[in-house]
Symmetry: C2
Subunit: 480 residues, 2 copies
Amino acid sequence: MTKIDNHNNNEDLQTQLQRVIYLLRKYKLVEGFVNLQETPNQEIAESSIQKQNLAELKHLLDTLHPADIAYILEALPIEERLIIWNLVKTEYDGDVLLETSDAVRESLITDMNSEELVAAAEQLDADEIADLAPDLPRAVIDDVFRSLPIAEREQLRAAMSYMEDAVGALMDFDVITIRENVKLEVVLRYLRRLDELPDHTDQLFVVDRNEHLKGVLLVSRLLVSDPDLEVTQVMTKEMVKLHPDDNAEQAAHAFERYDLVSASVVDSDGKLLGRVTVNTVIDFIREKAENEALNLAGLSEEEDLFAPVLKSVKNRWVWLAVNLVTAFIASRVIGIFEDSIEKLVALAALMPIIAGIGGNSGNQTITMIVRALALGQVSTNSAWKLIAKEMGVSAVNGLIWGIVVGIFTYAIYQNASLGLVMTMAMILNLLLAALLGVLIPLTLRKFGRDPALGSSVMITAVTDSGGFFIFLGLATIILL
Amino acid sequence: MTKIDNHNNNEDLQTQLQRVIYLLRKYKLVEGFVNLQETPNQEIAESSIQKQNLAELKHLLDTLHPADIAYILEALPIEERLIIWNLVKTEYDGDVLLETSDAVRESLITDMNSEELVAAAEQLDADEIADLAPDLPRAVIDDVFRSLPIAEREQLRAAMSYMEDAVGALMDFDVITIRENVKLEVVLRYLRRLDELPDHTDQLFVVDRNEHLKGVLLVSRLLVSDPDLEVTQVMTKEMVKLHPDDNAEQAAHAFERYDLVSASVVDSDGKLLGRVTVNTVIDFIREKAENEALNLAGLSEEEDLFAPVLKSVKNRWVWLAVNLVTAFIASRVIGIFEDSIEKLVALAALMPIIAGIGGNSGNQTITMIVRALALGQVSTNSAWKLIAKEMGVSAVNGLIWGIVVGIFTYAIYQNASLGLVMTMAMILNLLLAALLGVLIPLTLRKFGRDPALGSSVMITAVTDSGGFFIFLGLATIILL
């Protein structure tokens, strides 16, 4: 199925991307040339060169794995991406769409008409169609739905009904089921009658006549066991059973912890619904990690590298707006102390130091806590231990860096009291950062919010406004 | 092997953690009680309750998977962690150590003597020992090394020689090899003579007498094919071949793209060295994502949630120091304009807005570019397109938010020129952020540095100092 070279396949992929870009450029240069020179003879000559370039490109694409085609499409600016997309073999369309990121998929789908979309979707399994469904026009989904056999319609309906972060959304229906009271020899003969096994078949599911899951027969056990034994003697009942409404993140942790290749999905009665395989889990983990990184930097969702400007603006404005509000607040806090700044203008130059380091330290704490919360490792009991520890770290850091900034201040402004105010403000702001660095994520969690979202913006808001207030307040009391 | 309940295993894990904490507390309360009351009679009575509690804890731990024990150890403060650790079955020690994070592993290893460590390591395979090796005392490694059979000594030596981010570090040696000119029936009989297959055996490796890899026989093909066929008729030559010095991240991408369960590792002559399996790849992906998140927030490495304060200080100081330097520079930039601020103190209150939003916008750009660079999707050709796009986004954002801050400024200070300076400074600082948001990661990359490290700190430094300079400079020219 997979066409993979004997050499280092990753360098190959880069080489292939370069080759595609090279052929594309040749093709486009020639196209420009044809448009300039309009004598019919030349046109024929040039267009035959063009055809040759296109054929070469098409040939190259035909040898690539759909995932590699998706990779190349992601790396190309939109105009060139669409030229390549139109050269991809029709029977790959569905698989390539599955492999692209949401943002790039959207740009490809926009370029396709309904028939092409229906044809692409029809090549896929029910669970894969469900993955594409959110990006497809309603009419296309209806057409695809009608073209499916009854059993697959039910599967598609089921697959589309699950939340994106539920196990059901990761599930496929490619299970091989066997009965428990047959000999392994019979199982082996049964398998031999199949053309192929579903990908990632590391276990066969043992069910009763009502499709209730009784156990699993590991393929590795099947291969080493005496064929005269019965399934029930070789199967295991110790297995991971997922439910379609389970949290997908938790299921992913189960795959990691127990080194699974596949796991059964059963309904509340224990009836086998399908399975989850490790390749889906890897994609889920990668996507989740990527989304977290994007959200942290204030990108609402994955962005096409070559998205139109206005689309990018839309993807980024929320975070900028939220930060602008916190900046306005910080600005007003400074506003309160304008008289003090007027009297001692050095305060204006020094205050960003206190605010900035407070934000850095607070974000270190937040990152620790958010990570521990995601793993479910913080109990009410340990919360106090964590606050104590983070305050301790801040006290030490505050003292060290407070003294450093105090000396810096004295060196520049020759004002010992001002240096002392810097030191005190640094210690206090770091303590504030530690306290709220633990409390903010815990509180978000308590109210059922995802602590990974917003914690960072909130701690920065606190350490900015708080830092300015502490520093300018102390300065006003002590110095003026 | 794995003891997993029939219910939702993740809720179970939380329940088990709670149960361990409950039993621990009971045990510790009683221990405290014994210390207070020193009459011998009671001591005997209490200590029998203690014994019972300990036995109950031990029984619970005995039923848990090593990965689950590791999870529980990570969630406990150090004192309680060590009580639990001493209750864990000796034969699990090695597996549990493998599953813990580096930081927590260190705390456990510190608690063990040499014999315990040697015993724990001896339960593991050569590639697993190599994973632990960096945390083990030299003498322990030497002891373990001497206790191994010759073949495994070679494997351990090889496994320890690879860089942490090379395929060799992910490799194990559990390969089943077969010859190409035998019938499948013979292969099946050969497998039946084994007690068990290595985990994640989805393919058998076909080698010649010199161990050169000729192809792979997929287990799924073996099961559906006529046993009278020869291996050479059923095996495939289209396979991923990794090299031990390949970049592990690239290998992980290959697993994702081609949905692999295992992949061969060969040397430069094509001789089979071992294999990489998907469970190792998942761990690698998760660890890598986690490290990136930690580094982004300025934590040098994964930190034990309950690490001693001074250890945490050590883990965090570098980032704070770097940020302090950039804050000092920004402070000096403001210092240049102290005269201007003295004349118009509103500037002090407004300047953090320009710097802050510039930093936010720059980090959005950096995140996009670093991600694309990691995937190898930015060519010299597309770099200019990216700069143009990011500058476009910044121009639009700068105009929108520049007008918003302009209006805010006018509303507060009733000064139209000051509002106009805000608008202009916002636009210019966002353009600066876009330009350097693309150039900084590209430049780091060009000089062979990891653009994920440091890009964020650098862009913030630029947008802070640059923002202050642009805003205060414009204000000085236009307003004063």
